[in-house]
């Protein structure tokens, strides 16, 4: 399998704070990789560095063989990387389908073609019944669906999902997990930032653990949950035996 995303020695400081330091990892094509770690570990900063929202102080981000550092977010998106935001940022006054059209316009100028493509994406995430509702009226999970549809409409090869499960109830988490499985089934490479271990174990094939901006562990879900360093920094001691037993 080819490499979709290669992050090498990525580093970013905010004043005296080292938000991300010397982080390297590789995402292979059609793999789902989870980025986990406690709050403030640098996960969202890493997303912002990859997508061009921040410029890294050190390191490189190579996506599908092309260097992304120095590109602005819309260029990164044009190269096939799309993201969702931790706090959903829908275009509130627009309808659901109009929101998704803004993404579809990246690949087509024609409004009717964009609308058709947007409808497909809205349908894919299961929002068809609400496609003409203003986005601001959506519930949390539907806003997350909308963000995914909007990202999908840009025809990405790599999708970065920032805490899409936060604030969802258990039934909704199951739906979101199913949706991510469906995206992966379509051939998409996915990087997901998530706190919910149950969801991560269900979707990720590879996990990278960050703490204080540094990578402290990496491996398969089973390896990572058994790693003493990860248990100390993030999972907590009570998690280890239960997770080891429950891991699929």
């Amino acid at each position: 399998m080819a490499d979709a995303l290669i992050v090498t020695n990525l580093g970013k400081r905010f004043g005296g704070l080292r938000a991300v330091q010397d982080v390297s990892f590789t995402v292979r094509e059609n793999e789902t990789l989870a980025l986990i770690g406690p709050n403030g570990a640098g996960k969202t900063t890493a997303f912002n560095l990859i997508m061009g929202f921040y410029r890294p102080d050190t390191g490189s981000v190579s996506a599908f063989g092309r260097e992304m550092v120095g590109l602005r977010p819309h260029d990164v998106c044009a190269h096939g990387l799309a993201r969702t935001f931790q706090v959903a940022k829908p275009f509130g006054g627009m309808t659901v389908v109009e929101n998704v059209m803004t993404g579809a316009f990246l690949r087509t100028r024609r409004p009717d073609a964009a609308r058709a493509k947007a409808r497909d994406a809205v349908d894919f995430v299961g929002l068809s019944t609400r496609e003409n509702r203003p986005a601001r009226d959506l519930t949390t999970i539907d806003q997350r669906r909308l963000e995914m549809a909007r990202a999908l409409a840009t025809e990405p090869r790599l999708l970065l999902l920032d805490e899409v499960m936060a604030g969802l109830n258990p039934a909704e988490v199951d739906q979101a997990v199913a949706l991510i499985g469906k995206l992966s089934g379509r051939g998409l490479t996915i990087v997901i930032v998530e706190h919910l271990m149950r969801a991560i174990m269900a979707v990720a094939r590879h996990i990278v653990v960050l703490d204080h901006g540094q990578k402290i562990a990496e491996g398969s879900p089973q390896e990572v949950v058994a790693n003493p360093e990860v248990i100390r920094a993030y999972l907590g001691s009570s998690y280890a035996p239960a997770a080891a037993g429950a891991a699929p």
């Binding site: 997508m51 929202f53 602005r72 977010p73 819309h74 998106c77 044009a78 799309a82 993201r83 935001f85 940022k89 829908p90 275009f91 509130g92 006054g93 627009m94 109009e98 059209m101 803004t102 993404g103 316009f105 990246l106 100028r109 409004p111 964009a114 203003p134 909007r150 990202a151 409409a153 840009t154």
Partner: protein
């Protein structure tokens, strides 16, 4: 929140009805009010492209109004070039001026952007006040009266001016209607709602802002030329007057920002209110009509913050939804 579909039809009807008005309205006073309404509806429509759709709240559009006015007047007086040509030259000058102004101001967001735009218009006014040798300084100048000279944009009666400004407004509304339906229209609204999300879905936000600022400036400059030709006078205080910037924003806010007909509806409402109050209360205690005007303005903004068109869209949406749910 856009009234798609019948927006175009409404627009055509409104323009058609307005074309007939001078056949009925003969009083110069009434025509003058109508011309001012159309002029500010036009400026508001130009402002609305940037301030309404993209929510880049400029309070510096007087800069472009003034540049348009001065460009055509300088060309006319110094070189004898017709204001018809000068008008478009002024548009181009304003468009070019919007590039450095935008380059500076778009680094800032929200209120900071607004303050920066105010400053640019004020700086331009000071430049025209101070540099007497090329643009008559603070005294300004009158436009030489050539009598009835259509080729020099001068007319005996008021009706031709009415048709010129109606044409400008129709063109601006046409451009807005086209933009609203095209990709750039969606991009503008997206930028106005959430800039980061707009960038993330592949929108080149600085480029779109720059482009719409150029179009908005170009149109505003045409209004400057028209106004100078209409009143036969120009000076920095008139051409770069802060109240032009405010009015452009105000009519759009009252009518409904980011809607096709919002600025026109807002202007009709504000200008007629102001004219009526002037004739009813103008002779009583000084300034009382301005106080009442301000109170009405506050009431509209408090009760209908989305403007008249925003309210219309809500009612329309409610009507459409209620049969389905009930």
């Amino acid at each position: 929140m856009r009234l798609r579909g019948w927006g175009g039809l409404m627009l055509a009807l409104v323009i058609a009805a307005m074309s007939g008005l001078p056949l009925v309205v003969k009083s110069p006073f009434a025509l003058d009010i109508l011309i001012r309404i159309l002029l500010f509806a036009f400026i508001g429509t130009a402002w609305n492209l940037l301030g309404g759709y993209a929510r880049q709240f400029s309070l510096g559009h007087a800069a472009f109004f003034g540049l348009g006015a001065y460009t055509s007047t300088l060309l006319q007086i110094d070189f004898g070039i017709s204001p018809w040509i000068g008008m478009f030259a002024g548009g181009v000058v304003a468009m070019l001026a919007s590039l450095p102004i935008g380059w500076l101001c778009f680094r800032l967001r929200g209120p900071y952007f607004t303050i920066a735009t105010i400053a640019t218009a004020q700086v331009l006014m000071l430049i025209f006040l101070k540099f007497r040798d090329f643009a008559w300084g603070a005294e300004g100048t009158t436009i030489p009266n050539l009598g009835d000279a259509p080729l020099m944009m001068q007319f005996e009666g008021k009706a031709p001016y009415y048709y010129i400004v109606l044409g400008l407004l129709a063109a601006a509304l046409g451009i807005t209607a086209w933009i609203e339906r095209s990709r750039i229209g969606y991009y503008l609204v997206a930028i106005g709602e959430e800039e980061d999300a707009a960038e993330a879905v592949g929108i080149d936000v600085p480029r779109i802002k720059r482009d719409i600022y150029m179009i908005s400036s170009f149109l505003t400059a045409l209004a400057g030329t028209f106004y100078t030709q209409y009143i036969y006078f120009i000076d920095p205080q008139t051409a770069f007057n802060f109240s032009i910037s405010i009015e452009a924003a105000l009519v759009s806010i009252v009518g409904g920002v980011g809607t096709l007909l919002g600025p026109l509806i807002g202007t009709v409402l504000l200008e007629t209110t102001s004219a009526l109050l002037q004739s009813w209360l103008g002779n009583s205690v000084g300034g009382v009509q301005l106080t009442v005007y301000s109170l009405i303005l506050m009431a509209v903004i408090l009760w209908r913050p989305t403007g008249i068109m925003g309210y219309a869209a809500e009612v329309y949406a409610r009507r459409r939804q209620s049969p389905a749910s009930g």
